[in-house]
Amino acid sequence: MTQEKLVEIKNLKQHFKTGRNSVVKAVDGLNFSIYKGETFGLVGESGCGKSTTGRSIIRLYNATDGEVLFNGENVHGKKNREQLKKFNREMQMIFQDPYASLNPRMKVVDIIAEGMDIHGLKGDVKARRAKVEELLETVGLNKEHANRYPHEFSGGQRQRIGIARALAVDPSFVIADEPISALDVSIQAQVVNLLKKLQEEKGLTYLFIAHDLSMVKYISDRIGVMYFGKMVELADADELYRNPIHPYTQSLLSAIPLPDPIYERSRERFTYNPNDHDTSEEPEFREVRPDHWVLCTTKEFENYQKEYSTVTE
């Protein structure tokens, strides 16, 4: 893959004030890049800041500190309307809850076309209609569905509408925040296949946020693991699953139940104890193996390198 950076996140911080003297550091100093055409998976338990990261990247929150560079330009900071619009068109989001993310009083055609209206892409009424119908067919719905309201659809179909809406303005980068968590297993597979197909056809770049690790492994090229607002490990999807280095990643992987009874009977779960770390210095993000980054101290870094240098694959 050509390693052209589409999104670069530099020291991103997102703090929320929760009282006079208390601050929640939801995201605390995040650094990573997303390459053009790849799917970047972001995993972690609830409350680790993965959704906040997604929302900060698309500027639904104003970042406390740090930069988000999109094609080399900062998303945050002072912007006039035109500049903002440009970003909003390039970046779109698919939300978790297909029931809450569609306006119940709008027809599907207006929901999908809203973005096009705002960005002045619609042309005349006929062209607008045609574009919506084309989008509906792309995501596997019928063009007759355009005149219906969201409540007439099932969860999986609604998520398809959400995807069509995101694609309406021809974005290059899509943030999918737990797009399948609220769906049934069989429907999940349909939506994931659709996302993959669209990526191939349109050359999209995804940030895929989820806690379902097996699905993330399946869809992602690279995966970042977050724990309490910090990224603790970042590697290629296969590499991460084969050689998880950070103890938190290991515990997360050991907790995934697999549909295999014999394996399940012998599965052993690790528990992660954040106090086990070397506390002599602030941990830093270091490259333990080629393209495999882990948050660790100098001492841990040496140990990890010794331990994993022999693993070839």
Partner: protein, 350 residues
């Protein structure tokens, strides 16, 4: 061993303005002492309605148990009055609900919520009940019980709240525990903890469990036997090994195929096309026929009975009829089963 619970030909319907919704259309299953039966299926397949009907927790009207028997230790629960049911609920059969955020009373201290059942069913005094509550909290792994019982649910995290719900369910040593998606709302690590806890407690108390979920990974972990439900019917039932290593129903193939495995690299997930049927007007013949790529003419005309695969394994598909053509499961499923068989020998992922 004797069956603790036996459900015979149960039908549950809801009367709506649109007509009669046949949510459960004739299910048969039994649960033995100390056993875990998992019920899997999509939303709307009737798995929750089935278990709610066992406890008679469905609102009647509009719901009603149209037909069938629910034999619990030989007594037919379907015929009991509400008053008699109240003596059984929470005592002999208790339930863990999906959402720990909504199944606790936010205005009541946690300790009192656990005590409620003890005082009502076991006729304990307050002091006795309190002692038992402390034991229970220790059992479910909530530290510092003395001060925790004076707190309200909002002061607990999701995983801790679910532990409280488990404690309430276990308070009176039920013979049968029904867990309706107890871990769906939780993180993987917390999910693993709760499941380990439930298994551990089951071993200690020798109770039976009905576990409802749509996560096949969880099923593989907890279940002794599995029932796969589709459109209000059980389409396949057998031991976990039967259902995971030798699935016979095309719907089970679809469910297994739609989960990505960590090892195998597949270009596309096997997705079941379409969506479940409308149970207001259940289709004629096999309800799965319209989504089934192996459907034959007969599937559209007549419902398949449960065919016997082995003594423990049954599946309702015409593919098992002696005159049906031999159809192999899709490649993806075969590969997956083969991969599972080789992997499980190693016992780890590397």
């Amino acid at each position: 061993m004797d069956n603790l619970l036996e459900v015979k030909n149960m039908h549950v319907s809801f009367d709506t303005y649109g007509g009669e919704v046949q949510a459960v259309r004739g299910v048969n299953f039994s649960v033995k002492k100390g056993e875990t039966l998992a019920i899997v299926g999509e939303s709307g397949s009737g798995k929750s309605v089935t278990t709610k009907a066992l406890m008679k927790l469905i609102p009647m009207p509009p719901g009603r148990i149209k037909e069938g028997e629910i034999l619990f230790e030989g007594r037919d629960l379907a015929k009991l009055s509400e008053k008699e049911m109240q003596k059984i609920r929470g005592k002999d059969i208790s339930m863990i609900f999906q959402d720990p955020m909504t199944s606790l009373n936010p205005t009541m201290k946690v300790g009192n919520q656990i005590m409620e059942g003890l005082i009502k069913h076991q006729k304990m005094s307050k002091a006795q009940a309190k002692k038992r509550v402390m034991e229970l909290l220790e059992l479910v792994g909530i530290p510092d019980a003395e001060s925790r019982i004076k707190q309200y649910p909002h002061q607990f995290s999701g995983g801790m709240r679910q532990r409280v719900v488990v404690a309430i369910a276990l308070a009176c040593n039920p013979k049968l525990l029904i867990a309706d998606e107890p871990t769906t709302a939780l993180d993987v690590t917390i999910q693993a903890q709760i499941i380990e806890l439930m298994k551990d407690i089951q071993k200690k108390t020798d109770s039976a469990t009905i576990f409802i979920t749509h996560d096949l990974g969880v099923v593989a972990n907890v279940a002794d036997r599995v029932a796969v439900m589709y459109a209000g019917k059980i389409v396949e039932i057998g031991t976990v090994d039967d259902v995971f290593y030798n699935p016979k129903h095309p719907y089970t193939w679809g469910l297994l195929g739609s989960m990505p495995s960590l090892e195998s690299e597949v270009a596309e997930l096997y997705a079941i096309p379409g969506s479940p049927p409308d149970l207001l007007n259940p289709p004629k013949g096999d309800a799965f026929a319209s989504r089934n790529e192996f459907a034959m003419q007969i599937d559209k005309e007549q419902e398949p009975p449960l065919f016997k695969v082995s003594d423990t394994h049954y599946a309702a598909t015409w593919l098992l009829h002696e005159h049906a053509p031999d159809i192999d499961p899709p490649e993806a499923i075969k590969k997956r089963v083969a991969a599972m068989a080789t992997n499980s020998g190693k016992g780890d992922r590397s």
